[in-house]
């Protein structure tokens, strides 16, 4: 009994249960499959947001290129599905049957070498994990070893997102170009477009989300989680306690990338296509706001953030499309300035203290003070950011 109580506290199981109840029982029972499929789509962004809680909230590493990893995972899955949909029978009318239609339109006469292994589902599943992890490793290893961090890192990740988008759009014979990889039909002969398949995929998505949540929770609760908090405050001290700081940063970033990639793969499966619109700068930074709205230090908050912002986006875009950008912009500014700990912060500061004690969760390790917008005294606003600090840092 004690052990279970311990687990409850350690993993905030009561909060997890509420989320599970919502995702597994309440939403599927109260919505038609079209709406539930939308929820499934939002949840794929929640994978990215969970990853951002780990690397941005805890690790202090802001990536503006998470769309890259979402896209890599999504494209890996899409390539497999596309190959299955492009069997010689299905593509008999093409000049070269048996290759994806967009390749045929672009005068390709054989399948490019890097497409070949995606005939295998096992390879595809491995690739969904390993390709983004390897890519994340390559991007970060040089920079974290050289102590590049903060805004520099953010800018570089943004550039990487830009590069990959231009590359995908430019090489349409190999990638499907701006339309992406569309018209995906079956997985090992199982039609993924039917309502029944969508239900099943939704539950697979929820299950994977909880796997990621538990992994994330485990990491945060481990010594590695406390080290991340320590590194955010005193990187030098951690280094002089004998830790290789860059290794921890690389690890957490790769983990976040793998989460994003799983989300991307689930996106492809549930929605039936993948395109560069989910890779570039704009979607990448939007994924950050899902995390920020939910609370950058709360894994569960990130899931709620992804759900709420996307639900708002969908309903806004349906009724007042021109207002959406205003709302989104205001959301960015408002969350950063007034609620830097997002919904989770609102929950722990305003709602939880009013709840009975046994429902409360342990206090998060640190919170970021909100800006007192009403401040008039100049002294309170004296900036202390010294750009040369970071610069010197980078110069080592």
């Amino acid at each position: 009994m004690n052990f279970i109580a311990h687990l409850f506290a350690r993993y905030q199981l009561s909060h997890m249960l509420i989320l599970a109840l919502l995702l597994i029982v309440v939403l599927p029972l109260s919505m038609d499959i079209f709406r539930l499929n939308l929820i499934g789509k939002y949840l794929t962004y929640a994978f990215v947001a969970i990853g951002l809680v780990l690397c941005w909230g805890y690790g202090g590493i802001l990536s503006l290129g998470q769309g890259v990893f979402f896209g890599l995972g999504g494209y890996c899955m899409a390539m497999f599905l596309k190959l299955e949909a492009s069997s010689p029978e299905n593509t008999a009318i093409q000049t070269t049957p048996g290759i994806p239609d967009f390749m045929d339109w672009n005068q390709l006469t054989e399948l490019p070498w890097f497409w070949e292994p995606f005939h295998s589902f096992g390879f595809t599943l491995l690739a969904i994990i390993l390709v983004p992890a390897f890519f994340a490793f390559v991007v970060t290893v040089a920079m974290f070893k050289r102590r590049v961090g903060g805004v520099y890192f953010a800018i570089i990740t943004q550039a990487v997102a830009a590069i990959l988008t231009i590359l995908i759009i430019g090489q349409q014979g190999y990638t499907g170009g701006v339309n992406g990889i569309t018209d995906l039909r079956t997985l090992h002969g199982w039609d993924i477009r039917t309502d029944e398949a969508k239900y099943i995929l939704y539950f697979v998505c929820v299950a994977l989300l909880f796997v990621c949540l538990f992994i994330g929770k485990y990491v945060i609760n481990s010594k590695l989680g406390r080290l991340l908090v320590a590194m955010r405050e005193r990187e030098d001290r951690v280094r002089f306690s004998g830790y290789d700081v860059s290794a921890f940063k690389i690890f957490i970033f790769c983990l976040a990338s793998v989460f994003s990639a799983i989300g991307g793969a689930m996106f492809t499966l549930q929605i039936g296509f993948m395109s560069p619109t989910f890779v570039g700068i704009v979607p990448s930074i939007e994924m950050v706001i899902f995390c920020a709205v939910g609370g950058r230090l709360s894994l569960l908050g990130a899931v709620y953030g992804a759900l709420l912002v996307n639900a708002a986006k969908t309903s806004f875009s349906e009724s007042f499309p021109e207002l959406w950008l205003f709302a989104m912009g205001a959301l960015f500014i408002g969350v950063v300035m007034a609620f830097p700990n997002g919904l989770a912060g609102v929950w722990t500061t305003y709602i939880e203290p009013r709840l009975p004690a046994r429902l409360r969760s342990p206090v998060p390790p640190s919170t970021i003070p909100a800006v007192a917008v009403t401040t008039t005294a100049e002294t309170s606003s004296t900036p202390s950011a010294n750009p040369t600090v970071e610069h010197r840092h980078a110069g080592n």
């Binding site: 570089i156 950008l325 004296t382 750009p387």
Partner: protein, 309 residues
Amino acid sequence: MFADYTMTELTSIFAMQGFAGLTLFSVFVLMALGLAIIFGQMGVINMAHGEFMILGAYTTYLTSNVFSSYLPESLYSLYFFVALILAFLAAGALGAFIEWAMIRHLYKRPLDTLLATWGLSLIMQQLYRTIFGPREVGVTLPDWLMGSIALTDMVEIPINGLFVMAITLVVAVGVGLTMQKSRLGKQTRAVVQNRPMASAVGINTARVDRLTFALGCGIAGIAGAAFTMIGSTGPTSGQLYIVDTFLVVVFGGASSLVGTIASAFTISQAQSTMEFFLSGSMAKVLTLLVVVGILMLRPQGLFSLKIRK
């Protein structure tokens, strides 16, 4: 690859591409200068910098409309100079306001500034779309900016391109002098190097921050005005340049104005030369890849100081 061309043709192609590169270079420099001041001197990432530039472009567009509708035609040739000043003032004033309302609260949280200014950029884009419509608008160039100078039979230099370069030169020299000689420039550098000390010797650091930010935004406004000379303006035109400009600034070594100019030159020339041999998108991919690759190996950029800790 070169076999189909004669020597003179090749020379002319390089000259023309080189000139196209120089025009791109000018826009890069104008945008990057403003950003270099804000980022390099203050450490603030302004993701809405492109939108401040577009504000300058729309100001120019409005000015040209006012001139053509309400003022005698003889004055039209002068509208651009008025527009330049207005663009600087409009973007600068908005910059000062944003610094006061938003940026100054976030100096301790640079990553959050980045997100907040991104939100600002979304709002500004939508405002432009609501006011000016989603389509791109262009200005009518005055007669004296049209046409081109023929250097040889094949090499023609467009006058508007030359003019943009001239503006760039004037602005760059002006910014250089401001930062080196003027009181504001000296105060800014003092604040950058030692904020508490600057404050202790009586520099109003909050005011210096505001003016520095406004100056950076004002220069973005000038960049926007110059931009109308070579292209048309749409609500999202600013966003197209923002990544390139940040890379220019970081690549140049964030706190060095000379570095910014050198890096703008390198990147723009590399891109426009490669554009001739590869498709436009591959040229851009290759340029960005090389820049990112170099930055991974040499994060301090091209020019940097080694400072004692």
